[in-house]
Amino acid sequence: MKGLRLLVSRNVGALLALALFLALYVFYSALHPKGFTVDLFVQNSNEALTLMLLGMAQTLPVLLGGIDLSVGSLMTLVDSVASEVVRGSPWQIALGIALCLATGLLGGLVNGLVVVLGRLQPIVVTLATGAIYSGLALFIRPTPGGEVDGNLGWVATNALSEMPATFGWWNGSPPAWFNLIAGIPMPIVILVVVVVVFWLPYRNSETGRAAYAVGSNESAAYMSGVRVNRAKLAAYVMGGLFSGFAGLYFAVQTGSGNADPIQAGTYTLNSIAAVVIGGTSMLGGSGGAIGTIFGVAVLRAITFCFRVVDTNSPLGFLANPLLQPMFEGVILLIAVSVGAARIFRMKNRLDMYR
């Protein structure tokens, strides 16, 4: 019981985001003309996965108390690389995917090295490396285009049932156990795999805990023998890897590459918003990637809801396409201001400055 209470109190932001998402999504499914179907879920998860992966990438520097303004640019760089290499024979595709993820890792490593060895502030470092990654992306892909393997794109953006159908497994008659999970969207499978294989082991490792310690109080962490520099470097490398996944999925989903720096900027800003809505503190030391995933889900569910509101109902004004961008901003402002509630509980104003 005590363990449960601790779990809830530590993850209150993520749980709030999850609750908000569920409420919004139930509302959306109820209003949708066809109701909740597998196709709808597949489509929605497709729209969310890229930002979810990018939000995970942003979470790590924020946990350290920093920020990464280069995640969007690194994503477009990987996207551009993918549009050149992820095609051909299965082995070439596998090699291409590895190359994309390596690009992401390398980008994160450069960020980490400059921040740690250069002793510079992450916000300005990533501002500069973001320009460099955007430049490299434009160098690889001056105009939108390129090609990503079509079968891979089809499998990655549909329900799990398309996988054996596309690759010809089991001669068209999958076993019974597969039919049970056949309706799960592939983006969700990818997300779960990334979380289970990369995030959770990292979160529970010594290095992952060290990142939380550094974010809470860097000098205290140093005094306690935490290897501060290694923790920072590892966090940036992990962030780069997640950016790599985001860029790779974006390329696979769109079937081409696009090095648009404006799109990169939009993705970066949305990733920051998702991290905050997901309950990770901008001051560092608390939160996590799971919360960010729910944060993205909330952001996306809001836009989904706008699509299905009946224009003749009292809430009809929400469906006005001219008003939607403003509501998105207002909801973001309200979401971040909810955290201000703690200000009004403080008895001593000095507590505010901590």
Binding site: G118, V124, L127, L136, F139, I272, L323, F327, R349
Partner: protein, 317 residues
Amino acid sequence: MPGRFRVLLETVDRPLLFAGGFIVCILAVGTIYTETTQGNALLLSPTYLLLQLKVASFLGIVAAAMMMVVLLGHIDLSVPWTIAASAMLATAWGGATAMPVGLAFGLAVGIFNGLGVAYLRVPSMIFTLGVNVVLRGFMVMLTGGFSPSSEPTPIMLYLAKGDLFGVPIPVFIWAAVGVVVTFLLRRTPMGRYVYAIGNRQAAVFLSGVNDRLVLVASFAFCSMLAALAGLLIAGYSSKAFQAMGDSYLLPSIAAVVIGGANILGGSGRFSGTVAGTILIVLLQSVLSVMQMPEAGRQIIYGVVIIAMLLAYGRSAR
């Protein structure tokens, strides 16, 4: 002699020295390029330099705005749409009161930012990001159904395009902004509080200063300067348009940090920001004179920022 040189090095601001040296390097490399390829020293002609100064004055005013909040240890990500929204409102309003309306709108945005940051204690990066989205939505709402006038008023055109004694008027406006900002930071209690809050806000509060009012005032001043830049940019490009502020956000932050200001607040000078602004504008211009493609320009831009910061922006161990 070496002793005197060291004294000189210590009295002159290091960021200013490095940025100034780099500006000379850019001009030298560019001139060697034009001399060998075209046989002229285009970059050293007064016409070219005055044009660059004029272009720099728009970024310079935005950078001055950004510096006001960076010194506090905050940041204003709503600058792009503060620029665009005040320019669009002013041009739509039209007439003699167009400029005051634009500036007043900027002031209102700044006060709102300041209230969120000072009283709700939302991190400025997040709050101003949200305000930026709201402003964009607000302008989509206002201009989506019909298209209001985006023509700048004659006075906006004159202020942005006119010349006085052969010098572009925006340069004078930039200089005036510089005088006001420097006076505010160096000669008024408010300026002292700004630097002090950047170092430790709790200490400022304990000294009996109304620290939250200083925050609100700084954010208000920042957004009003951004609005002023928006009005001038609208005059310069002869119209107000939606994305007009987007290309000013990151360069303005870069100009402030290249100028030696600490992004965590508490230190930085206006002279440094001026040097940073000129460096960025000249770098972009010379690279385009040298016909460097966009990809190469972005990469060099990023490398230069990191190199300049490694030279003097490193934090103590």
